[in-house]
Subunit: 292 residues, 2 copies
């Protein structure tokens, strides 16, 4: 498919309540609003159908999981088709009994499932006990562009954003836009300067993926207090040289729009030809844990 020259992205930054249906209803409403405002691509935040339940290890939370296809994916598919948009959603996927993933789904404008991505890097830290819930993605290759009506894109999820390897592999497989559905927040007990350092690092590393790879990076995070976390929002879109071309607040529900001129990718890569000079002969040790 021929890639579009300009893509209007909408990132839906919202707060979530405990029950699934009100969250899904809210997301569908915002998707409609974004489509009406001309969005070609709409991306929802990580686990947008529920609270970020990973703040504790609780068997009962497995009840939030859904299969693909399932109620959420059917609703998202229908919304993509209805509005004629590319729609990126996120869900707690039940693959089979006892096997669950944190999975992004991409529906094209005809409602078809263009691709899925099962989160590869899984965190496990206080308030982010994801290793309890999510089996790491096992696709081969693990990072891969998805072909869509707006060109090749890739979806990576939250903790993936700290890994240059993931962004690079997505870009090398042809992705021109990287989407990062995210759920990250400040611990309420942290000091203001610590919080600032965290959001700054989070934004910086994702902007660096845009720079290193000469592609757009679109990151969408939730807002609102849940348990001990204040989700910090700050959703943004960076252009292929890492310049932020749109950014949301840290505490309000918002739809962030960004018009992405896809011709900037080749322009930027010609002027800053990093892909040309990679020393692929010398990168073999990147598959090692540590070189000791």
């Amino acid at each position: 498919m021929k890639a579009s020259a300009s893509v209007r992205v909408a990132l839906i930054q919202m707060s979530c309540s405990k029950d699934i249906q009100p969250n899904l209803d809210k997301a569908l409403q915002r998707i409609e609003e974004a489509a009406q405002k001309g969005a070609n691509v709409v991306c929802l935040q990580e686990l947008h159908c529920s609270h970020y339940f990973c703040q504790s290890e609780d068997d009962a939370c497995f009840e939030f999981a859904e299969t693909i296809p399932g109620p959420s994916t059917e609703a998202l598919s229908a919304a993509a088709k209805k509005h004629g948009i590319l729609l990126i959603g996120s869900l707690f996927e039940k693959r089979t009994d006892g096997l669950y993933h944190n999975t992004a789904v991409v529906f094209d404008k005809d409602g078809s499932l263009a691709g899925t991505y099962r989160k590869m890097h899984i965190p496990d830290d206080p308030c982010y006990y994801e290793k309890f819930y999510f089996t790491p993605g096992d696709a081969d290759p693990g990072f891969k562009a998805i072909t869509t009506s707006v060109g090749k894109i890739a979806v990576l999820v939250c903790w993936d954003q700290w890994y240059p390897e993931a962004a690079r592999l997505a870009a090398l497989s042809g992705a021109r836009m990287l989407f990062y559905p995210t759920a990250i927040g400040w611990h309420i007990a942290d000091a203001t300067d610590v919080k600032k350092g965290q959001t700054d690092a989070w934004e910086t590393i994702q902007r660096s993926h845009a720079i290193a790879n000469g592609c757009f990076v679109c990151s969408v995070n939730r807002v609102g207090r849940e348990g001990n976390l204040d989700f910090w929002g700050g959703s943004f879109v960076a252009d292929p040289f890492g310049k932020i071309i749109g950014k949301s607040s840290h505490n309000n529900e918002e739809i962030l729009y960004a018009d992405c001129d896809m011709t900037r990718i080749d322009w930027t890569r010609r002027h800053w030809p990093f892909l040309r000079d990679r020393r692929v002969d010398a990168y073999g040790n990147l598959t090692r844990r540590f070189i000791d």
Copy 2:
């Protein structure tokens, strides 16, 4: 050797004239000043003994090249020993007839050569015709920490700074500080916003290496007008979460000091355990040019 708990780094940001001796003399004087102010590690900028001659392809410029050992390395070795410091220099190395490198040298406080690094990623762009002069480094492994009296460090050079792979491999081989001797500037014809975008991307991607790897990043650039380039200085040190703990101006000769608390490395990596969760099983394709 046991790593030091605190390391005082000095980055010498200077302008250069055409002749080698005045540049070397200036560098030696600044090294002395830095040592007197308590620096344990002093790092000079890329090709500090000459103008940045790569603005044109000129056979005559090969005359700037030196062997190792040679006059520059002998002077640097003596300075390291005299002041009892770790000293990082850069030179245009003649390896043999017709084989030249852009090489960083690391002298320990006893004057011994702790290690060398031949620049791996070589640019070739208008005003930066480095592929004409410099054979890419061919060490195996290409990126490797150097063991010194202040612990393991790595030196990467200028264009390397745009490659997350280089920083990662250096960190995986144990480097706790990454040094980037650099010569990068604004083309005098560029617009102000273009210039701002360039310095911003340059700083961002290097800060991201600190974040991704949980290590210190020390970048030292030259200042001053040479030909069509205004070297933009802006030398800085970033801590293991990418926070800038010291930064120089864009147009003045300066010695930037930064006290690096090396215990922050483990502290940061415990709180943001990115190395723990790398998907080394899924990174094999990083050795490919493009996945098409």
